[in-house]
């Protein structure tokens, strides 16, 4: 036995001994979803090394290999496991690179909307009064429109303001568009929990000993309202990835030079009628796989963190 074992257990040890981990181990659904999500994320992040080809290396792409079917169909080649698109790019590699862009946009949008939403929610719940009323009215208006419409609108405005936008700027506009539609849920959730926490004894105690309001907000209240936010964020990642795919499919998403899964589906859609279904279907399947596994993880996390369900 090491002497460190006697010390208070670290965060990691506490996690593996905690309820959440036990609930994870006893849920085959959660494990399956986690494994699928982990594989997808791994392939996406390390696409440079994992992907069999580099679909964006023009020297390596051969036009004579274009529109090859998947390997198991007659005419397919083993070099291109899932076939090739109209420019001879390997579909499997394009999916991995595309998933990276999809995940990047999805996670970035969720982070931005989480920061904005949690901040405004805390402020709203803590300050109350006119600030609260104003923020909540804005939330009401935002909620009464479908997020896709708001994202499209912001995207359109972005396009109109920067007509010759550079690729990086296009990414920025897209992320802002998706995150500006997502923050409302965080704000409402955090505001609700803040209203409850604000009257707890520990907050009053902190007030009595003269802790600054901003410190109470971030140091004391924030950690206690983060549980539901994490659940929301998990499910939101899937939603953000789907929104990004939808926008890209509609042709107003990521720049065409860095195709996401939605862009790949859009490209493949043109070849549906000439029988080359694999150009569309495989990126679509990857998109569903990611969205479904992340959603299932989010569902499980919600149940695991909800004390009433235990």
């Amino acid at each position: 036995m090491n002497t460190t074992a006697i010390k208070a257990p670290g965060a990691l040890a506490r996690f593996f001994d905690g309820d959440v981990w036990h609930s994870f181990k006893s849920s085959p659904m959660a494990i399956t979803a986690a494994v699928i999500a982990a594989v997808c994320v791994f392939c996406a992040i390390f696409a440079n090394w994992v992907a069999p080809h580099n679909p964006f290396d023009l020297a390596a792409v051969n036009l004579s290999d274009s529109r090859l079917p998947p390997a198991w169909i007659e005419g397919g080649s083993r070099t291109y496991l899932l076939g090739t698109d109209d420019q001879g790019r390997d579909i499997l590699s394009a999916i991995m690179y595309g998933a990276r862009i999809s995940l990047f946009v999805g996670v970035a949008s969720v982070l931005v909307s989480m920061v904005v939403g949690v901040g405004l929610g805390l402020l709203s719940g803590f300050a109350g009064g006119k600030v609260d009323a104003l923020i909540m009215r804005v939330c009401d208006v935002m909620l009464s429109f479908p997020s896709l419409l708001v994202a499209l609108l912001i995207d359109g405005i972005g396009r109109a303001i920067f007509p010759n936008a550079h690729d990086t700027l296009a990414f920025g506009v897209l992320i802002v568009a998706i995150s500006l539609t997502g923050w409302v849920q965080y704000a409402r959730t955090v505001r609700g929990s803040t209203l409850v926490e604000r009257n707890r004894e520990y907050v009053q105690a902190a007030r009595v000993i003269g802790v600054k309001p901003s410190r109470i907000m971030f140091k004391h209240v924030l950690p206690n309202v983060m549980g539901p936010v994490l659940v929301l964020a998990t499910i939101h990642v899937a939603a953000a990835i789907l929104t990004e795919a939808t926008l890209s499919f509609l042709g107003v998403g990521v720049p065409p030079t860095s195709p996401s899964l939605g862009t790949l589906i859009r490209i493949g859609n043109d070849f549906l009628f000439s029988g080359e279904w694999w150009i569309t279907i495989f990126p679509g399947a990857m998109l569903i796989l990611i969205a479904l596994s992340v959603n299932l993880l989010g569902d499980w996390l919600r149940d695991a963190l909800n004390p009433r369900l235990r």
């Binding site: 208006v141 009464s144 479908p146 359109g156 549906l272 679509g284 479904l292």
Partner: protein, 327 residues
């Protein structure tokens, strides 16, 4: 009740005015209408003249009032891309979108509610689990993928249904309808199903959850104890009490149908407003975007008002109590 309606009307007005303001700001600060109308080689005098003619030299509130006045008459100016009146463009496309959305809403309600009731009553059976799994897929699958899969199956592989456009339409005093021709119906099937899938799955899950909740309550037990037949317990007592949240979500989703129609219309090249809007976004065609925004906001506000009024029809408790705000 009157006070409630008045308050709701005032709220609706505020929403509409803020949307109009956003649309106006779009006009004002996104792109220069003078530059886009005159082209690059106009003289400064021409610019000033056009500015005065368009009223762009007036103070801000005057311009906003003019904008609202014009918008109320349906005048949003000319499309930057097509050079035609925006109101004419939208009037042309509106019937296609409305017919598609209505067809999808009917499918979603007509299939979703019975399936939801079924899944709640036959809870745990194989059939209801299949319904739940499929509905989970329906909620998770992006609309455009559903459309592509349907096209692949029914149009490309089976060659049963068309997948492009509206087919033959009949014009009834400016309103083009596809409901009157066989070809129009055939063209409607795939897009309408695509558009309805998400709402259908949502309604199914919602009805099921609400039914399960209600079936546990005391008055259902009392109804059974009184010896009422199952049919009347389920449909007369239980289903009726699940309807309030169902109406809320369905009403809000009706607006979402119009938003999702953008995707469906792109997939099926359905010549509706959504397709017009997406082209406007691609080309930064501000007048069309602003007009679409105002129109959709109006539809939303009206639908929400109707939903609020329906509460009173469905739930007698609300006629006495003050309705709880928010969710």
């Amino acid at each position: 009740m009157l006070a409630f309606i008045l308050r709701r009307l005032a709220q609706a007005l505020v929403v509409m005015l803020s949307v109009a303001f956003i649309a106006f700001m779009l006009f004002q600060y996104v792109g220069d209408p003078v530059a886009s109308m005159l082209g690059q080689d106009a003289t400064p005098e021409q610019r000033v003249a056009l500015r005065a003619e368009l009223g762009l030299d007036k103070p801000f509130p005057v311009q906003f009032a003019r904008f609202v006045g014009n918008a109320l008459q349906g005048d949003f100016g000319l499309s930057l891309r097509q050079g035609r009146k925006v109101s004419a463009l939208i009037a042309e496309r509106l019937p296609a979108t409305l017919e598609l959305s209505i067809a999808a809403a009917v499918i979603a309600l007509a299939v979703g509610i019975p399936l939801g009731v079924f899944a709640a009553l036959k809870r745990g059976t194989f059939a209801s689990q299949v319904a739940m799994t499929v509905s989970l897929l329906g909620v998770s699958l992006p609309t455009f993928l559903i459309g592509i899969l349907l096209i692949l199956l029914f149009a490309v592989t089976l060659k049963l249904l068309p997948s492009f456009g509206r087919g033959d339409t009949v014009s009834l005093g400016g309103w083009t309808t596809g409901f009157l021709t066989v070809d129009g119906w055939k063209h409607l099937i795939l897009p309408a199903i695509t558009l309805s899938v998400f709402q259908l799955a949502l309604i199914l899950r919602l009805v099921r959850a609400e039914m399960l909740e209600v079936l546990r309550t005391d008055y259902i037990k009392f109804a059974r104890a009184r010896g009422l037949p199952n049919r009347s317990v389920y449909f007369g007592h239980a289903l009726k009490n699940t309807l309030v949240p169902v109406i809320t979500i369905t009403g809000l989703q009706l607006g979402a149908l119009i938003a999702f129609a953008i995707i469906t219309e792109t997939v099926f090249q359905w010549p509706g407003m959504g397709l017009l809007f997406i082209q406007a976004v691609q080309f930064a065609d501000v007048p069309v975007m602003a007009a679409y925004l105002c129109l959709v906001a109006l539809i939303f506000v009206v639908v929400n008002l109707i939903v609020d009024l329906l509460y009173f029809a469905v739930d007698p408790r609300l006629r006495i109590e003050k309705p709880a705000g928010g969710h």
